[in-house]
Amino acid sequence: MLDLLAQTGLNAVYAASYISLVAVGLVLIFGVMGVINFAHGELFMAGAYAIVALYAGLNVPFFLAVAAGLLFVGCLGLLMEKALFRPLKDNPLGGLVASIGFLMILQALAVMGFGVRMVHIPPVTQEVIAFSEKVRLPVARLYVIIAAIVLLSALWYFLKRTKFGWALRASAQDPEAAALQGISITQTARIAMFIGAGLAGIAGALTAPLVSVNPHMGHSVIVTAFIVIIVGGVGSLEGAIVASVAYALVHTFVTTFWDGVLADIVGLSLMLLVLIVKPTGLFGSADRA
């Protein structure tokens, strides 16, 4: 029994790790840009296909391919900022609709480039850490957990301790007031898009050998993403990040210990609770709504 608990716990930590990376990127983009990026799941997918192309296709060493995936998807984020979100800044629904269009383009490109079938990716490592006979952690999963801890800690440090991190938080809390301090909102938007997209990309890249890579793999992210934005959209970026990591943990624990349907119910209940207790959760801090 204890073994089962420990094993399920490990699975949950792994799942929460990559979901957190995706969710945190999404709330970062929402916080700074004020748009819900519907294409976020497809950025995750794009990261996975970077591994398909580079690691499985061209035999590029795995971690080099992961780094390339991060950069590539980060640049997709920059492209979205420049081509979609900036021109549509004054249109409240514009960014959202454009991101849905971008989602479809990315999916179509994946289908055209790689087909609709699931792609097989050779395992990165077969090594397994065995805590006991029944409690085992594949090293490939450990990579994802380590990446999540390192990247999220780094992001935390960036937001709390560096000047550009403050600029990002200031832009999320009050873009006009931030501009009055000399902060270029375009620049903070770019930083947020690069980091947010890059985190989704690296999550997709690292998990690619562990999941079934297909053009529709981003879909499952959307529901989670929505809930995270609503639960997390409480004004401060750090608050949103804590909320999204907490949500990812709760959701994946419930999924692994019970099942996914119950996890969604618990997630939605949490969301309702947030909306009842703090209605401004819906669209960030009160003065922004």
Binding site: K163, Q173, A177, A179, L180, G182, G235, G239
Partner: protein
């Protein structure tokens, strides 16, 4: 002139918010813009700091055209704006708010010295250094907004209704601070509905009425003016 605004117009869509407004700010002086609700005071100030595009006229600061610059570049030129409603960053600490005011500066030691100055001027802010800004009282938030603006080391300070919503004692305190920082050489543009306070502090005053320049003159002269007394001082 430190700042010169000539024949400015600003539109919100088709609505003409201000027309043909000219304001001149001499070095080292306090200039005030008074007027009732919706007269166009905030619009004028936001045009100065690049927050709103102008549709006519020109603005020069220290002889340089600044009317085409976006807000974040105007700050770089030495103009700090304490916006209406304070607009501090609610989920940042007092110290983070202040340091964000120095975002464009690279002179690390001078920043520390200026932070110390702000803390000396506003001891409450030092006490609350690590507190989230949103948990502070209205008066403290106004002080934080002023402190944040000072952290950019400006040569001109724009203030939009610093007395709004504050108790008389706090208003008095803020007024004293405005006088002090002006005495230290900082030029100020003060927008106020509280005309009594504004005319007392300022050297020169402009009166706006529904988007138009209604009157201007030395502050003490306007204080004695019949129309101003009746319309704005309730005398």
């Amino acid at each position: 002139m430190l700042l010169e605004m000539k024949n400015i117009a600003v539109n919100y869509g088709k609505i003409n918010a201000i027309r043909n407004i000219s304001v001149a700010v001499p070095e080292g002086k306090i200039v005030t813009i008074i007027g009732g609700n919706g007269a166009g005071k905030t619009t004028t100030l936001r045009a100065m700091s690049g927050m709103l595009p102008i549709t006519a006229g020109e603005i020069t600061f220290e002889g340089k055209r600044i009317d085409h610059l976006p807000a974040h570049k105007v700050v770089a030129n030495g103009i700090a704006h304490v916006p209406e409603g304070r607009r501090i960053f609610p989920d940042m600490t007092v110290e983070e708010n202040l340091r964000t005011g120095a975002f464009l500066r690279k002179d690390k030691e001078a920043i520390e010295a200026d932070l110390e100055d702000v803390f000396k001027r506003f001891p409450r802010l030092r006490e609350r250094r690590t507190q989230m800004a949103k948990t502070m009282s209205g008066g403290e938030q106004q002080m934080l907004a002023i402190g944040r603006a000072l952290m950019s080391k400006p040569r001109l300070l724009l203030m939009d209704e610093p007395s709004m919503g504050l108790a008389p004692v706090i208003v008095e305190e803020i007024a004293q601070i405005v006088e002090e920082i002006n005495a230290n050489g900082l030029s100020v543009v003060l927008v106020e509905q509280n005309a009594e306070l504004a005319l007392e502090l300022a050297d020169y005053a402009y009166v706006l009425e529904t988007g138009n320049a209604a009157m201007e003159g030395p502050a003490d002269e306007l204080h004695g003016n019949e129309h101003v007394r009746a319309a704005y001082l309730g005398l």
